[in-house]
């Protein structure tokens, strides 16, 4: 029956005409990839596989819009995609070191007792921070830090299809689940009205509106997460299954929680649940006496992978999250350095909070 079925499907849904990468472009990609692999191999000869330093989830790269949008896809379609699907989070053994667990319990309690702000769907989360990140140029094993600079983001509270804003190093970038082309949000209407000539921004794959995903959450998504720490952690393990080879599932869970507290405002109950969930992750440790990018002294909760250590920094007095630091433990160099300076809900993207 299979041939008949396939033929019938092919007649109902004929394959779009085959496209080809222009030959020159294919050659350029091939060369680039083989260079990457060759460099990785040379690096690997002296060190375990490098895990790329995580940057803020919505850090504007070449295509800032995609970060916010496809995080939603990742969660929404997790059930549909074989490799990432269908794990009831296996209860993992152990947990954070006793010192880290104690500190996390205190941090969670402090977070839980913060007042819950009243937030409208139309509001934006505003976060101002100071950041610097390293790049490994041309596969060099030695990271090079860029200059510490201010970064401001405005992120929608309820729907990733609402346009946000990033201002960094004098550049204004729109953040949207839709493609941003030449500084404009391209909201080609959804199907069934596809454009022609292969420029179809309307397929359900392209944009999923709504609350976002674990790696690019809106405030409403964070509010909707389970507040039981074990349930929440199982959800995170399930969503990140098979990822993070160099750090393993525990490191991946840790960095995913990092994605949720970084450049967001976390509702008190969710924050408490996230920190309590972190206390259940094996390999989480405490690092005393660190400073954030603004020079504020702090105490850190950390996870060490094969080559890097990721630290969340907290004010030792207020137990507020005040920044992050990433450290390359092979090159002995800081690769990420941030400080949160200000966060608030505001009514419009681009608006500064009232003082």
């Amino acid at each position: 029956m299979s041939r008949d079925e396939i033929s019938e499907l092919a007649s109902m849904l004929p394959a779009p005409a085959p496209r080809q990468l222009p030959a020159q472009r294919a050659q350029a990609l091939r060369e680039h990839l083989l260079t990457e692999f060759g460099n990785a191999r040379r690096t690997a000869a002296t060190a375990p596989p490098r895990r790329l330093t995580r940057r803020p989830a919505r850090r504007a790269g070449r295509r800032p819009s995609r970060a916010a949008l496809a995080g939603a896809c990742a969660v929404a379609t997790a059930a549909a995609v074989g490799a990432y699907a269908l794990v009831a989070g296996a209860g993992r053994q152990g947990g954070a070191s006793p010192a880290a667990a104690t500190l996390l319990a205190k941090i969670a309690n402090a977070a839980e007792h913060q007042p819950a702000p009243r937030v409208r769907d139309s509001d934006f989360m505003y976060i101002r921070s100071e950041v610097a990140f390293a790049t490994y140029t041309n596969g060099s094993p030695t990271p090079k830090m860029d200059k510490l600079h201010e970064r401001q983001v405005w992120l929608p509270v309820a729907n990733v299809c609402v346009t946000g804003l990033l201002i960094e190093e004098g550049q204004r970038t729109l953040l949207s689940a839709y493609p941003v082309v030449n500084g404009k949000v391209d909201r080609t209407p959804p199907s069934p009205a596809p454009a022609v000539n292969g420029k179809i921004a309307a397929s359900p794959l392209s944009v999923v509106c709504g609350k976002g995903g674990l790696n690019g959450p809106t405030y409403r998504l964070l509010q909707s997460l389970p507040t039981d720490p074990r349930t929440l952690l199982n959800l995170i393990y399930a969503d990140t299954r098979g990822e993070g080879q160099a750090v393993g599932p525990d490191g991946e869970a840790f960095t995913t929680i990092g994605d949720m507290i970084r450049e967001t405002i976390v509702p008190p109950r969710t924050a408490a649940a996230l920190y309590r969930a972190a206390a259940l992750i094996p390999g989480v440790t405490l690092v005393g006496h660190v400073t954030n990018a603004a020079g504020q002294p702090g105490i850190a909760i950390a996870f060490t992978g094969s080559q890097s250590r990721y630290e969340w920094i907290f004010d030792p007095a207020t137990l507020q999250f005040i920044g992050e630091r990433d450290y390359d433990t092979v090159a002995h160099a800081v690769t990420g350095d941030t400080a949160i300076l200000d966060e608030a809900f505001v009514a419009r993207a681009g608006q500064l909070p009232a003082r």
């Binding site: 496209r19 929404a76 995609v81 596809p194 292969g198 359900p204 392209s206 609350k211």
Partner: protein
């Protein structure tokens, strides 16, 4: 003894990845284009697919047939989890040479000849299917993988490939009867992007529950 291509891929031999690129990059690009409908994205997905293949190389079984199904499975996952893949390989992607702005002439011509209206109709019908159904259509019907290879690519049982195809066929027959974008019947809501977005918390829930009927 001459090591196999699979063995060399496992061992991280860049030249073996060169062979893989020569053999499969066209198929990967076409699959990506058909799933996204966008040439620019398809190109990024090609790069991400091979970067992911490099990362996951040690999972390749030393014995076996062509690595094409494996690569195409990675492609589907990259399409479905674009931001995660893009972020993981952010440094490598940033080093990627920018594409030339003008598409080359042959490509332009091919696009003009392509029947735009038909393509639009196909995209509209395809968009009404669930992602899981789109994946099996793209692999079995458009990329001509057999059921076993598609099952391997997607990491699902062969029976699941069959049932997804059957379901897609039934749905498409129904769509063929009510053309011109008539609203889908009530049981068909998952194909609509808005609804899927709005339902996120439920979807998170189902993502950790194996017995979600809609993905079978």
């Amino acid at each position: 003894m001459e090591p196999t291509l699979r063995g060399r891929v496992r061992d991280g031999d860049p030249d073996a990845f060169g062979v893989l690129f020569d053999d499969c990059s066209r198929a990967v690009y076409n699959l990506a284009f058909r799933l996204t409908g966008n040439r620019h994205e398809a190109e990024e997905i090609v790069s991400l697919t091979f970067l992911e293949a490099w990362r996951l190389r040690t999972r390749v079984e030393p014995e076996g047939q062509s690595l094409r199904p494996w690569l195409m499975g990675i492609t589907v996952n990259v399409v479905r989890n674009f931001s995660r893949a893009a972020r993981r390989h952010q440094a490598a992607m940033a080093r990627l040479p920018e594409p030339a702005s003008a598409p080359d002439f042959a490509e332009e011509l091919a696009e003009r000849i392509d029947d735009a209206a038909r393509l639009a109709a196909v995209r509209a019908a395809f968009g009404r299917l669930r992602p899981a159904e789109q994946d099996v259509i793209a692999l079995c019907v458009w990329s001509e993988l057999d059921y076993a290879a598609a099952a391997q690519a997607l990491g699902i049982p062969v029976g699941t490939v069959r049932s997804r195809l059957s379901r897609a066929r039934v749905k498409l027959r129904r769509l063929a009867v009510e053309p011109d974008g008539a609203r889908a019947p009530a049981d068909d809501g998952a194909g609509e992007p808005d609804r899927r977005g709005e339902q996120l918390p439920d979807d998170i829930d189902t993502a950790v529950r194996p017995a979600h009927g809609g993905t079978r």
